[in-house]
Subunit: 192 residues, 2 copies
DNA sequence: TTTAGTATTTGAATGTCACTCATAATTTTT
DNA sequence: AAAAATTATGAGTGACATTCAAATACTAAA
């Protein structure tokens, strides 16, 4: 297994998927950009879906790492959640191509939606629930909220905001502002 | 334009999409189930994506109607939002085939993700922001939260929970319980 | 009721890929 | 340096989505 060639193909795929979208991207074009023959792609990946999922799994590693390190530095659970929210949105703003891949293209993969039991996806979500459990144990957060449900609520909210921003051509929405608003709603609620 | 035939094709498509998924569904099979020739499908819809989007646009009409009526009966904004949350999750539980179509299959359509400026999707989200604005104007909710962001936060949270439930084979998660939790978090926040 | 015109329907044919596999090139082992 | 093993190639295959020339079903004027 030539990992150099494998990486070349993945890098080419990131470019082509970001430019053409997952569906319109041709495997032949990915291979061409990677400087290999079409068939070679299938020696390193079982199919087109597998290329996309591999990109996800590998790109998530530094993102998860970075996020975990950031939260480690925060003392309170509230600060940890705030850091997660701003960190996620900063990533979306600073790496729009990758964000588009992870938020939009990935979900067009049938294999990802169904069947896929992504460890990296779960790991990312679990950063939220761990911070939340910490907050419950030290008395910062309500005990009656289930961490597994909470992580979905927060991730769902973040994801929706991110996707909207990524899709909007103008991108006039201020993500910093959105982060503040999410923090307010989720942490303190909307009741006056 | 024969609306009877159009409806027959749409009904057949709902069945086939729900059974096989959007991707694996064959236009030929939809046509067969509708009792028409393959080509006829293309007299009523421009392509396979258009069939799916048409299902969405048309199935959303009674859902939106029903939701609006339910909220109309509620007096406070808090009650309206609670009704939206439970209503959405009830729909997911009671019409799982339709939920799967709207939550999962629809997002595999490239044309839907990009390009699509769904009026019905916007209309559904706007039910949330209208209730929220009402709550702000009568002093129930904080003034500093932007309704447009709030609707995305709530819908994103709901959608994530719904998708998870739809995807989980066991479906052991109690959606009633999830509704309560979402209400608690979004309405009152998580701070102890 | 024919007939000519118009609208609708048909399904075989076309084009576009994802994916395969017999062959070739390269590397490793002897 | 020859044989064996590994890796790479790209023309070929099959599976659809979509098209379109021909057939069929209407409509209405004579």
């Amino acid at each position: 297994m030539d990992t150099v060639k494998r990486t070349k193909i993945l890098q080419a795929a990131i470019k082509v998927f970001a430019r053409d979208g997952f569906f319109n991207a041709k495997v032949e074009e990915i291979a061409r950009q990677a400087g290999v023959a079409t068939g070679t792609t299938y020696l390193y990946f079982t199919n087109k879906d597998d290329i996309l999922i591999s990109i996800f799994e590998e790109e998530m590693v530094p993102i998860i790492d970075n996020m975990k390190n950031n939260l480690l530095r925060k003392k309170t659970a509230r600060e940890k959640l705030e850091a997660f929210i701003t960190g996620h949105l900063t990533m979306v703003r600073e790496k729009p191509d990758m964000a588009q891949l992870l938020e939009l293209e990935l979900r067009q993969s049938s294999k990802f939606i169904h069947g896929y039991n992504g460890t990296k996806y779960k790991e990312y979500l679990n950063i939220i629930s761990e911070a939340f459990i910490f907050g419950q144990s030290n008395g910062e957060f309500k005990k009656e909220i289930h961490p597994t449900i909470f992580k979905q609520i927060l991730f769902g909210a973040l994801d929706q905001i991110s996707m909207n921003w990524t899709l909007s051509k103008s991108r006039k929405i201020d993500l910093e502002d959105s982060a503040d608003q999410i923090i307010k709603v989720i942490l303190d609620g909307i009741a006056a």
